[in-house]
């Protein structure tokens, strides 16, 4: 149990976005603070996992075998981004030179004093906003998951309006065709003296035209009321919606009745039969398109619309979103508190600098060793190439021979390269070396040492 607890603590320290081996060397108070940060990061991971899985589940219509792996992947990406961003919140610890060109001379400023570092830079605000955006993205599917029942009524109204708009738009085309075809059938009824069917058809066309005019006008009014911001707008909108709904239901009933009438008309006239069939087919198409639209509307869960409705209507959705944003920002606050109240970063600075310095020392030795080996090779090569041809001139021109030999001897004396250091504090390169030219007075020297 103790081992498990210890392992859990270790994982939380890893998730906190700081080096766990430095946290391990710190006090209990610091360890607890980083444990809290790690715990919040774990909560963010779980939140992202639920959010992404719920979103993909809705998009792919309850395919949980794919939504869970995608959710895990997304949660890992978000958590990874978050930990990286959290890591960048740490103060600058290592000496960093800010080189500025002033009056043709290079000046170097060092800004590693932990207390004097600018806390609210543009870069930090940008990171805050970036984390906030991540939080907003994560919060939306969770909002739907928790509060979707509060959006049901508005969503139902939206569906009705959507259905009405689409039916009216589709019907206008059908009704125009119906009017054209009915003209020739009416002529036939007049010739046959069939006043009953003539009246039925005429009434149907008149009814459909009236439906079209009335529904378009009601839709316009509905749109206008939707755009206004008066107090009683909901009642008005509801009444328009109800009128339009009744109109459409009546239209559907009327179409079904008329199809039955047309199916009962019997004639030997092929042209008339074909026209009746046309109208009947069109009405059937119309009803089928109604049914298809209703099927699609019932099948879709209007996920994005739900998010929109919740954001625009439900204050709890906003509260929850702010809670998530707060959850994402809280570890940053904890990190700032650690910076202000503990010596964690001072210790971290010390450990990192020691590491860099020791690595640099090893590097310098390796560097010299490599060049020693290289120069051994170069010197051997030089002597191998030059000595045979130099020997030729030994007797012919002893003076030149001696001079060139001496020169080659000096050249092959170089047996390694020492790392060139322009700065007084390698490898950070922030402090220029003191130049011992034009030495000032003794007083200046004493001041430099003791003040």
């Amino acid at each position: 149990m103790k081992k498990k607890k210890h392992r859990f603590k270790h994982w939380m320290h890893i998730l906190s976005g700081e080096d766990w081996y430095i946290i391990k060397q710190s006090s209990d108070k610091i360890q607890k603070s980083f444990f809290r940060i790690g715990l919040l990061v774990a909560v963010i991971f779980i939140g992202s996992l639920i959010s992404a899985s719920a979103f993909i589940d809705h998009i792919l219509e309850n395919e949980s075998w794919i939504s869970i792996p995608i959710g895990i992947l997304w949660a890992l990406i978000i958590t990874n981004l978050y930990i990286l961003l959290l890591y960048t919140i740490s103060p600058k610890l290592l000496p960093k030179a800010i080189k500025k060109l002033k009056h043709g001379k290079m000046s170097v400023e060092n800004d590693t004093d932990l207390k004097n570092q600018n806390e609210f830079s543009f870069s930090l605000i940008f990171r805050f906003l970036f984390i906030g955006i991540l939080a907003i993205i994560i919060a939306q599917p969770l909002n739907v998951l928790l509060l979707s029942k509060y959006a049901e009524r508005s969503l139902e109204n939206y569906k009705i309006e959507y259905r009405i708009k689409n039916i009216v738009a589709g019907d206008s085309g059908y009704i125009k065709n119906e009017m054209n075809d009915s003209a020739s059938i009416n002529n036939h009824f007049i010739l046959c003296n069939d006043s009953t069917n003539y009246n039925l058809l005429r009434n149907k066309v008149a009814y459909d035209s009236a439906f079209l005019v009335s529904s378009v006008s009601n839709l316009d009014s509905l749109k206008k009321w939707n755009d206004t911001s008066t107090t009683n707008k909901e009642t008005k909108i509801d009444s328009f919606r109800s009128v339009l709904n009744t109109l459409i239901n009546n239209e559907v009933t009327s179409d079904q009745k008329y199809i039955a009438i047309l199916d009962n008309i019997k004639t030997n006239d092929f042209k008339l039969e074909s026209n009746i069939l046309n109208i009947s087919e069109q009405l059937k198409d119309k009803i089928e398109s109604y049914n298809n639209l209703i099927f699609v509307l019932n099948k879709s869960d209007f996920y994005i619309k739900k998010i929109q409705i919740l954001i625009s209507e439900n204050p709890f959705a906003w509260l929850f979103m702010f809670f998530i944003i707060g959850l994402f920002w809280l570890p940053i606050y904890f990190k700032y508190r650690i910076r202000k109240q503990t010596d964690f970063y001072t210790k971290k600075k010390e450990i990192e600098q020691n590491k860099i310095d020791s690595e640099y020392k090893t590097f310098n030795n390796q560097f010299e060793l490599i060049f020693k080996q290289q120069y051994e090779k170069y010197n051997k090569g030089t002597l191998h190439k030059l000595l045979p041809i130099l020997n030729v001139i030994e007797k012919l021109n002893p003076d030149a021979y001696e001079e060139i030999k001496k020169n080659i001897g000096e050249e092959v004396l170089i047996d390694s390269v020492k790392k060139y250091e322009h700065w007084a504090d390698p490898p950070y390169r922030t402090k220029p070396k003191y130049k011992f030219e034009n030495l000032p007075t003794e007083e200046f020297f004493i001041n430099k040492l003791y003040k």
């Binding site: 870069s123 290289q374 090569g381 190439k385 012919l396 021109n397 060139i404 322009h422 390169r429």
Partner: protein
């Protein structure tokens, strides 16, 4: 887009870490294996900005060897020319007329053409 851009932003946000110093050491060692040395901030350019100087020790040694080889060859050539001059001087001192007769006009013309 977030996945693509975040590493770039992250790198921009990041200050120099111990890994960067270690990576710099590693790069310098790789260069050293090829005889290349970088002298950081070795000189200032015309604007006063400090610049690194890259020294290729192997190339410099090769240039040195070429210079010395040329010097030795020059010494040899000078010696040969001196000896040739001595021989010709001796011929002239012994019999000038014979020497003048021994010079063929075609050789002079050929030499002039070659020079042209």
């Amino acid at each position: 887009m977030a996945i693509e851009l975040t590493p770039i932003f992250f790198k921009l946000m990041l200050t120099k870490t111990p890994y960067d110093y270690i990576a710099e050491n590693r790069d310098d060692l790789i260069r050293a294996e090829h005889g290349i040395e970088v002298k950081y901030d070795y000189y200032q350019d015309k604007q006063g900005v400090e610049r690194h100087l890259v020294v290729n020790h192997e190339a410099e040694r090769m240039i040195y060897e070429k210079i010395k080889t040329t010097e030795i060859q020059k010494t040899l050539t000078d010696y040969a020319i001196g000896k040739y001059l001595e021989r010709e001087q001796k011929k002239i001192d012994e019999n000038l007329d014979e020497y003048i007769k021994s010079i063929k006009p075609e050789d002079i013309n050929n030499n002039e053409e070659k020079e042209a």
